[in-house]
Amino acid sequence: MNRKQKKQWIKLILSLFLCLLSFFIKFETKKINNGLLILAYGIVGIDIVLKAIRNLFKGKMLDENFLMTIATLGAFGIGEFPEAVAVMLFYQIGELFQSYAVDKSRKSISDLMEIRPDYANVYRKGKILKVDPDEVKIDEIIFVKPGEKIPLDGRVIEGESMLDTKALTGEAVPRKVTVEDEVLSGCINNTSSLKIKVTKEFGESTVKKILDLVENASSRKSVAENFISKFARIYTPVVVIIALLLMLLPNLILKDAQFSDWFYRALSFLVVSCPCALVISIPLAFFLGIGAASKMGVLIKGSNYLEALAKTEIIACDKTGTLTEGVFKVQKIESSGYSKKEVLKMAALAESFSNHPISHSLKQAYGKKMNKKEVTKTQEIAGQGVLAIVEGQTVLVGNEKLMNKYKINFEKSEEEGTLVYVAKNNEWIGTLVISDKIKDDAYKAIQRFKKNRVKKIVMLTGDREKASAYVAKTLNLDEYHTELLPQEKCEWIEKLITEKTENKKVIFVGDGINDAPVLALADIGISMGGLGSDAAIEASDIVIMTDEPSKIASSIQISKKTMRIVKQNSFFAIAIKIGVLLLSALGLTSMWASVFADVGVSILAILNALRLLDVKKIS
């Protein structure tokens, strides 16, 4: 509770006490009762009345304070003393609760932004100084103790530690860093002290970029927000004009019209004349939606994209690095008589002098240090493989063609991926299957896309037919197109855009580095694994900080939840306001209902929007 709120409470309680006094005790004359009510009104309402007078001199007749003052003073005028006080009292109570709700939303937003580092420990003239991260220059050395946030992007020059990247990626998987490793601002240093040489100024750092992105995301407004601000602009004048007509017309037209009755109805209108519920809760919902996504490691660049995401109908994605890990690995070893270890060892040694990606994956799979002296001769046979003398024996490592060339009897493998046959002394000893592994997360992602009513999932890849077909089949994709050049991917996106239902959206997911034009062309361009990559952040509308495609499904869910809340709030607020307006025009309700339709609805709408913070239910 801040001081302003405390003061307000005291006023409210005092005023309420005076009201009760006036209700329950019959004083000698009615004047004392009324006097108490006027005093009660004065205590809670004076601020508003003063503001109203001030605004009146500025010619601001449509100001909320002014309208509230007119409504309550008017009620006094027609002798409705208790009503006048009650309206002001409840309006103020409502405003107070609203300020709590707003504080809570602001607090949750600043929690989302807590990745901002407050200070940096920098070495200057042999001393460690605590300074604002903004003041640290490139190439200065900073010192980060365990438990502290890394304030700026840089390179480790001393120390070894585990970093918690949760604030950036939404995941609590610790990452090990050591000398020469790049570190990103916003991570928390977990285990031991690090000395870091700064490579970027704070303004350019990862953490600043993320914060800017989230903060400025609300300036790219959604259709819903634009609608609300248009609505708000006409709502107040319309309600005030109707109130005026309501006060004047019946008295001119109807013979038995009672002025005070219609005047009261008109005053009730004025109480409902602020569109606040909508004006607060709709932008808040988008803001919280974007905040909730960023908490999971998904950066959404604008409310408009969050809104569009709910309408996803077609998802097109790149293969390598998006659905697959983008790293070639030995997936399987088939052997005849020899141990799998032996086959792998022979292959790795024979390929040990090669720089081919295949030989890298062989070396990695073998894992142990190799004694290269065992390899006495190697000869590369272009497009086929390698011939090497290993431990004095002739070893052939390569594809079918190589085996055929040396007339070796081998068992043809039916596995998908790149097949590497290994022969020793002209005898086939085994086959290695090397392929790019499909991400475990990709299976989950595709299932969740379908659950979220994505109609079609298409893979667009530059890779060869066979490897792509395998991925498409395993993941149960609806379509796949292979051996595409970047501009052909663009053509496919254009085609998909013509295919989709009107109003629905086509998403493209890529790595953000080679796919910039495709990302720009799709309704929503999503780049993945963009942690720290400027190019990816620049080129796309949404950035997934981790390499999990299932985060896209989570984002779609957040988007749908946001839109549900936006619709509920708009409908609820507009319906209640119109309902109360109608009822008060007909004289069927009192000013009390109007107060609820004004502040009560705002509070409920804000509380409804705050539900977006509960991200646990989503993933």
């Binding site: 602001r106 601000s229 606040c276 004006v279 932008p283």
Partner: protein, 74 residues
């Protein structure tokens, strides 16, 4: 064009924030004005040389419109 950001203090009415934003949009020196009720921030772009002049105009308009509001450097 450079982007500037200020904190707005005592901003407690969302509709007023919208109205104020529309008023500030009319100032010629500045562009892309936005007032965020939620983050309590005023953002605008202008030429670096115009900053002080723009700020003065903004302060004047705010004082006229919502005298309780104050703007502060972030």
């Amino acid at each position: 064009m450079k982007k500037y950001q200020f904190k707005i203090i005592n901003l407690d009415c969302a509709n007023c924030a919208n109205k104020l934003e529309r008023i500030l949009e009319k100032i010629e020196l500045i562009e892309n004005v936005s007032i965020s009720f939620i983050t309590q921030k005023l953002t605008f772009e202008c030429q670096e040389s115009d900053k002080e002049k723009a700020l003065e105009t903004i302060r004047k308009k705010i004082k006229k419109e919502e005298p309780d509001l104050k703007i502060e450097e972030v």
